[in-house]
Symmetry: C2
Subunit: 162 residues, 2 copies
């Protein structure tokens, strides 16, 4: 698996699983009806923020991550990131590799911490993954997310000092 | 004191204290060098979000609030708001009136909760005001804010169920 910079040429490969995951509305606070063109604007970030893809030996896109400054002004030392793994390629450590990559990026870019603003508490696989990389839940917005089958559930705010 | 919709015609009255407060860099995670034109874009929000001003009997702008959806998609039921009071008109309950106004707006607009994403913990007057209106600190981002004189201090995430 290789993690490299994403370009707009990767969007046709990202869009099918981006759309599937976002439209399902179980894990992201993105508009669930986000279209292909608008979705690219949400995901492919301009510098100094970054978007990467994890690709297989044959170039297949397995997953993607975006990483960005999370606050402005005197909160500029806090980074954030988001991850999407193609469900067809789950269970291979793609999410873990992407998350670790973004932590290294944030550290190298001089950020002092990472913050996730909205981790759906029923997305237990993601919560466990982030915790295994050192993130902790610093607070939970009660009923912050309307899960399509589980009803109103909490949104974790997670943090990792760098 | 009257609270009414802000228009771009109010910006010249808002800008001097907006600039003073934002440039001081003690309470907002806005770029501290935000210029007058860009500042208007940060503060005067298009519908369905709203910006209001609190004005005196003679029309003097005492303070202002913006209120907005805080998450998208399945987090769309969470609102947020921000407040600025002209220091020349502090101590008159302007901040409290603006905060109460935004809570009522959020309730009437059908939001289920309000969330403040980044309340600087050394801004004790604001924290106490929000708590007196029922908000609670649900988490604190450690060292999330670089205060110009107090160094790295926490950023509270605050919440009020509606």
């Amino acid at each position: 698996m290789l993690i490299r910079e994403a370009t707009s040429a990767d969007w046709p490969a990202i869009w099918p699983f981006f759309h599937r995951i976002v439209a399902a509305g179980e894990t992201f606070t993105f508009p669930t009806d986000l279209g292909e063109e608008d979705g690219a604007g949400w995901w492919l970030l301009p510098a100094p923020n970054r978007t990467v893809v994890a690709v297989d030996e044959d170039g297949t896109v397995l997953g993607t991550a975006k990483m960005n400054r999370n606050h402005q002004g005197n909160g500029s030392h806090i980074a954030s990131a988001s991850y999407l793994v193609d469900p067809a390629h789950g269970g291979r450590g793609v999410g873990r590799a992407l998350c670790a990559y973004t932590v290294e990026w944030a550290r190298a870019a001089g950020f002092r911490a990472m913050q996730f603003n909205a981790v759906v508490e029923t997305n237990r696989h993601a919560v466990r993954l982030y915790e295994s990389l050192g993130f902790t839940v610093i607070g939970t917005l009660p009923e912050g997310f309307r899960h399509p089958t589980e009803g109103y559930v909490g949104l974790h705010i997670m943090h990792l000092a760098l």
